[in-house]
Every structure is written in structure tokens, then in C-alpha cells.
């Protein structure tokens, strides 16, 4: 019998070890404060509301206290790297890889090299995140020894494709990454965050990643986050958007289930006139888990949010969608809509969908809806009545269910890349 791993203690020790050789002294207080909170947290159980539906036993069965390291082996980038005319930032096991990256238009700054203004901005922004309920976020903060600051200060013509690749050497290890994106006032940017695994790994790797995006006044950000890692991966992700006046966010997500995959997305409307489109699809099969926790906070008047997530859940897999919309007292004239639809492909599949509206303002328009359904019999019959065999008709309908959102993507290259991957998944699932 192996001893249960004490994840909190081991991770805290790792953070302390790294602190001894830090290159970012100016972040030490921040890390210390977060580590303190982390070390005093208890490991989530089924009774912990915030992690109620997550089975985290993989983290106590084996140790993840070693860090993954850079790997210069044979790395195959996802095909989208070729298909998308973009600048490319590649991180292998969390480490920047200059040979695979291709940064022609867009500059990046490591936290360790930040100038005084950048340091102020990074600190200010990191201090804004304060999710005490999420131990993985706290741990990421505790381990923010370095990170990447990406500032879009002028008219960007090419998208930035950020590829996170995990290789076999990351197995049974943890990768931490931290990224801060700022779209300056009146600028427009497209960012594709893409998570991939290099080869068919047979063992676990744990990824703990945090991205913060700040949209200054009248900035536009088209954002994609593609979680296409193979199914043994464990991922805890945190993604925050801070929206200034009249900024526009369009964020699209694709999540394939894996051993554990959880993404916490926060959208903060912090000045009037901002708009957020937050859409996504998730698919899980076999024994996989996938979890999207979204939280949209309307703190000021006259902001709008449109959120649509769709999930297809098959096999004995489990999906969670928790969509919270929080409208504070001052946020009059808010318009917020949330829809979550799910398709269950098997009797053993499980979906936990929980829309939460918290409204403290009295002059707002807010709507939410969540559905869980099996295949629509009428649609199925319609396809069959045109000669299409039932099994194929089911595939077409499942695919259509998510393709509806993919058809709406602004960057056709992303949709063209995703469609065959998703179609292939359906064929395997059938």
C-alpha cells in the first residue's frame, strides 16, 4: 500500500525551495502571502463546495512535487501552427523555446526582465487576483517566480499563437506557467492559447496555468483557448479578463476531457460600456473529467455579457459547467445572458450544470438557461428519412450541436483546424 500523498505540504515545500534561488525579489511578498494562504488551506474533498464535482484523487495517489523541465527533443507542433498566419510563442513544459517560437511583430517580456513600470503593472495585476477558494490558483501565485508579459501597444496585424506543449519528460511532474496580457487603449489583438501534448503520453503530467488579460479603454481582444491535450493530462487553469471602459472581449473555448481538467474563467467588467462574448464547447468521453467554472462580474453600469457553452458528454465521463453571473448594486442597465446546453450520449455519462445568477441591481436584464438532453428524436428521424443510417445521423447531429458555435468563429483558420479534430473524436466515440 502506498501512502497517500500530502499535496498541500509537498507543494508548499516546492515553493519554498524555489524561493531560495529567486530572480524576482520584487514578487517575493506577493508569493509569500499567497503561499501562506495555500499552506493553510485544506485539500478539497467531495464536501468542498467549490470542488464538489471534481474527483481529485489522482493528486493524492502520486507525487507531483517535481517540476517539469525544458525539453529540446523532437517536438511536433500542432498543425494549426502552419495553418494560422500568426506570430508564435512556444512554451515547452512551461519554458520558452526560442527556436520553435517565431515572434516577428510581437514582443514579449519575462517578468525577470521587467522594467519599473512593467513591474508595477504586474504586481498590481497579480494582487487583483484573489480567489482564496481555489487552492490551485493560490499555488500558481505562490510559484510565480517568472512569467511572460505580452503588451499589445500598437495595431496588431497578425494573431499571436501561444502554444503550450507538454512532452513525455513532463510526466509525473508539474508545470507552472503564468502569463499576463495587456491590450492597450484603442488597440486590437488576437490571441490563441493552445494546449497540446507532444506525443501520446501514457502517464500523467500536471499543468497549472494562469493567464490574466487586461483590456484597456476601447481595446478589442479576440481570444481562443484550446485545450486539446491527450487524455491523461491533468490541468488546472485560471483565466481572468479585466475590462476597462468600452472594451470588447470575444473569448472562445474548446475543452477535451482528460483525467482532470478544470478551468476557472473570471470576467470583470470594471468600467462602463464593456462587452464580453464568452463561448465554448467541451467534450468528454470514457472516464474523463472536464470542468468549466465561469464567473462574470458586473461591477459598473452599462456593460453587457453574452455567454454560451455547449457540452457533449459520453462514455462514463463527467462534465461540470458552473456559470455564475454576479451583478453588483451599482451595475444598473446590465444586460447579461447565459446559456448552457448539454447532450448526453450515454446513460453512464454525467453532467452537472449550475447557472448561478446573483443580482443586486434592480434595473438589469438578465437571462440564463441550462438544458441537458439526449439526441433529438425528431431531428434524428428527419436525417434517417433521407436515407442516412441512424449511427451516422447521431454523429452528424452531435457534431452539428457544437459546430454551430464553431461556424461563428471570427478566424476561419481556427474553425477549419478544429472541425476535423472534433469530427474524428465523434467517430471514435461512436
Amino acid at each position: 500500500m502506498s501512502q497517500a500523498v500530502d499535496y498541500i505540504r509537498e507543494s508548499s515545500e516546492l515553493a519554498q525551495t524555489l524561493e531560495a534561488k529567486t530572480k524576482t525579489d520584487w514578487l517575493a511578498d506577493f508569493r509569500k502571502q499567497r503561499l501562506n494562504a495555500f499552506a493553510h488551506s485544506s485539500f478539497p474533498t467531495r464536501k468542498t463546495e467549490h470542488f464538489k464535482y471534481n474527483n481529485l484523487s489522482a493528486l493524492t495517489r502520486q507525487s507531483f512535487a517535481r517540476l517539469a523541465e525544458a525539453d529540446s527533443g523532437d517536438i511536433k507542433l500542432p498543425e494549426l501552427a502552419e495553418q494560422l498566419d500568426a506570430d508564435r510563442l512556444v512554451l515547452v513544459n512551461g519554458e520558452y523555446d526560442s527556436s520553435l517560437s517565431k515572434l516577428e511583430e510581437q514582443a514579449i517580456t519575462f517578468y525577470r526582465d521587467a522594467n519599473a513600470d512593467q513591474k508595477d503593472f504586474i504586481l498590481e495585476q497579480l494582487n487583483k487576483k484573489n480567489d482564496k477558494k481555489n487552492i490551485f490558483s493560490l499555488l500558481n501565485d505562490s510559484l510565480t517566480q517568472d512569467g511572460i508579459l505580452i503588451e499589445f501597444n500598437q495595431a496588431q496585424t497578425k494573431p499571436l499563437h501561444i502554444i503550450y506543449v507538454a512532452t513525455e519528460s513532463a510526466q509525473q511532474k508539474t508545470t507552472f506557467a503564468n502569463c499576463l496580457i495587456r491590450v492597450a487603449a484603442n488597440c486590437q489583438a488576437t490571441v490563441v492559447e493552445h494546449f497540446a501534448t507532444n506525443k501520446d503520453a501514457t502517464d500523467n503530467s500536471l499543468f497549472n496555468q494562469s493567464t490574466q488579460c487586461v483590456l484597456n479603454d476601447n481595446a478589442h481582444l479576440n481570444h481562443y483557448r484550446l485545450h486539446l491535450e491527450e487524455e491523461h493530462t491533468i490541468h488546472f487553469g485560471e483565466l481572468d479578463f479585466w475590462l476597462d471602459a468600452h472594451s470588447q472581449l470575444n473569448s472562445f473555448h474548446v475543452g477535451l476531457g482528460s483525467q482532470i481538467k478544470r478551468l476557472d474563467i473570471n470576467v470583470y467588467h470594471q468600467a462602463s460600456g464593456s462587452h464580453a462574448d464568452l463561448n465554448g464547447v467541451y467534450l468528454s468521453n470514457a472516464q474523463q473529467q472536464i470542468d468549466y467554472h465561469t464567473n462574470v462580474e458586473h461591477r459598473v453600469p452599462h456593460c453587457t455579457t453574452q455567454e454560451i457553452f455547449r457540452g457533449i458528454v459520453g462514455g462514463s465521463s463527467k462534465a461540470v459547467f458552473n456559470g455564475r453571473i454576479h451583478i453588483l448594486q451599482d451595475a444598473q442597465k446590465t444586460l447579461a445572458e447565459l446559456s448552457n446546453k448539454n447532450l448526453l450520449l450515454s446513460n453512464k455519462a454525467e453532467i452537472n450544470t449550475k447557472p448561478e445568477l446573483e443580482i443586486y441591481a434592480d434595473d438589469v436584464q438578465c437571462a440564463h438557461g441550462a438544458t441537458v438532453a439526449k439526441m433529438d428524436e425528431t431531428s434524428l428521424f428527419y436525417l434517417q428519412s433521407r436515407g442516412i443510417p441512424k449511427s451516422q445521423a447521431e454523429l452528424m447531429l452531435s457534431f452539428g450541436f457544437i459546430n454551430e458555435l464553431i461556424d461563428g468563429l471570427k478566424h476561419q483558420a481556427v474553425g477549419d483546424y478544429l472541425r476535423p479534430i472534433l469530427a474524428n473524436l465523434f467517430e471514435q466515440a461512436a
Partner: protein, 249 residues
């Protein structure tokens, strides 16, 4: 071609068709009329094989084959086509993708080679034109956001592409304005041929001004209670259905 003998069918435990007989030969157009609740739509759905529409007695053969031995898609591949009263919207699946999948599946069933993309596209465009549908409809989701009339024209467009031998039109005229009705009728009339048969289910005589039937049958309470030529439709239009129901009773 289609031979229905003493068909009894139920929907969710309720008997709707109560011993229906009908013989349809190639080249013929049969109109089935009747009051609401007579079982008109049930007939189309039972023939096409919709779930929960259960045959409990009787036989139906299509060119000698027992259709109840066949799945809905096999009936389609054997040449049966049901134009839906309420065509289904399927966002995310494009019309083109849907039609190609349909033709490919039917070709495969019949053991013939499916048309290549170029000739398929050509045919699809021609069919669109014939029913006055913009070609952009091919790229849109199946019936997604189509008006009532566009949906019905889309049904006829599919019928033209699939070239079935037995076409069942389930209240295709419902919800159509007179212009759309003429387009639909024109499409149907173009398809009329000596080896193709039509069963036109309708509530109103109006459609039959444009699609002139060889036979008119009145369906009431799950049975055909009267059959005649096209003049029967005019008589029904004048007198309504109640006199027939009284006559039967």
C-alpha cells in the same frame, strides 16, 4: 407500387389508423383528404417509420417489400420520400453536408457509385433554382432560420435531388402563401413521371388545383371512407367533411 392492407397503427398507445386500405400504382397521384384528427399525418409517419408510430396490424409493401422489416433510412433508400409537414431545423449541419450524406448513403445502399462533388454541386444548384431558393441556402444550417415557405421548398428541393419513386407529401401546403404554393406545385409536377407515384396528404382542396390528382380519398377516423376522382375534392370543398362522417356513421 405501394400496397396498404388493413393497416392499424397506434401512437403512444392510442389507435389512430383503424384498418386502412390503399393501392398506389406507378405514375399515379393520390390525394388523401380529411378532417383534423383523422389520421392523415399519422399515415405519412407510419409509412416513413417514425419512432412511436407503431403498426399493430395489417401489411404495407413497397414494390413487394414489407416496409416494416426496414429501418427508416432503408425505406428512404428503397425510394420512399416523406416531405415533412414541419421540416426540422438542424443548426450546425449545413444543407449541403446533409444532402451529400443523404445521397451518399442512398447510393451505398443501392450499390451504385455516389455522384462526385462536382456533379452533385451542379445538381444541387439546379434543384435550388427549380424551387426558387437562393444557393446560399445550401451553405446554411438545415432549415435554420428558414421561413415556412422556404422550408417547404427545401423539402421539394430534396425530393428533386433524391429522385424517389414514392413521394408522400404531408400537408405540404400548410402555411404557404399562394406564390409559394405554386412553386411547390410546379416542383412536384416536374417530377411527375410514369414510374413515380405521389401520395398527397392535404386538408384543403386548394393544393389540388395545382397538383391534379388521379384519385381522391377521404380519411376519417382512421379509415378511408370514400374514394373518387378529382371531382370529389371539389365536392368536399363545398360540403365540408361532416356529411361523410354522418354517412359512415
Amino acid at each position: 407500387m405501394l400496397s396498404i392492407n388493413n393497416l392499424v397503427a397506434e401512437v403512444e398507445g392510442k389507435t389512430i389508423l383503424k384498418g386502412l386500405n390503399l393501392e398506389v400504382k406507378p405514375g399515379e397521384v393520390h390525394a388523401i383528404m380529411g378532417p383534423n384528427g383523422a389520421g392523415k399525418s399519422t399515415l405519412g409517419n407510419v409509412l416513413a417509420g417514425r419512432e412511436n408510430y407503431e403498426k399493430t396490424d395489417g401489411t404495407v409493401t413497397l414494390d413487394g417489400k414489407d416496409i416494416f422489416e426496414l429501418e427508416p433510412e432503408e425505406r428512404a433508400a428503397e425510394g420512399m420520400f416523406l416531405a415533412f409537414q414541419y421540416p426540422v431545423e438542424i443548426p450546425g449541419v449545413s444543407n449541403l453536408e446533409f444532402l451529400k450524406a443523404s445521397i451518399d448513403a442512398i447510393s451505398k445502399y443501392r450499390g451504385v457509385e455516389a455522384p462526385d462533388s462536382v456533379s452533385f454541386m451542379k445538381k444541387a444548384r439546379e434543384a435550388c433554382k427549380a424551387v426558387n431558393l437562393d444557393q446560399n441556402f445550401l451553405k446554411r444550417g438545415v432549415n435554420e432560420g428558414f421561413s415556412g415557405g422556404e422550408k417547404k421548398r427545401n423539402e421539394i428541393m430534396q425530393m428533386m435531388l433524391l429522385e424517389p419513386k414514392l413521394c408522400i407529401l404531408d400537408e405540404t401546403d400548410s402555411g404557404l402563401d399562394i406564390d409559394a404554393l405554386q412553386v411547390v406545385a410546379k416542383g412536384v409536377n416536374e417530377l411527375r413521371s410514369p414510374d413515380r407515384a405521389f401520395v398527397v396528404v392535404t386538408h384543403y382542396q386548394r393544393l389540388l388545383d395545382y397538383i391534379v390528382p388521379d384519385y381522391v380519398h377521404v380519411l376519417a377516423d382512421g379509415k378511408i371512407v370514400k374514394s373518387g376522382g378529382k371531382e370529389l375534392a371539389l365536392e368536399l370543398e363545398k360540403k365540408g367533411y361532416s356529411w361523410l362522417e354522418q354517412e359512415v356513421a
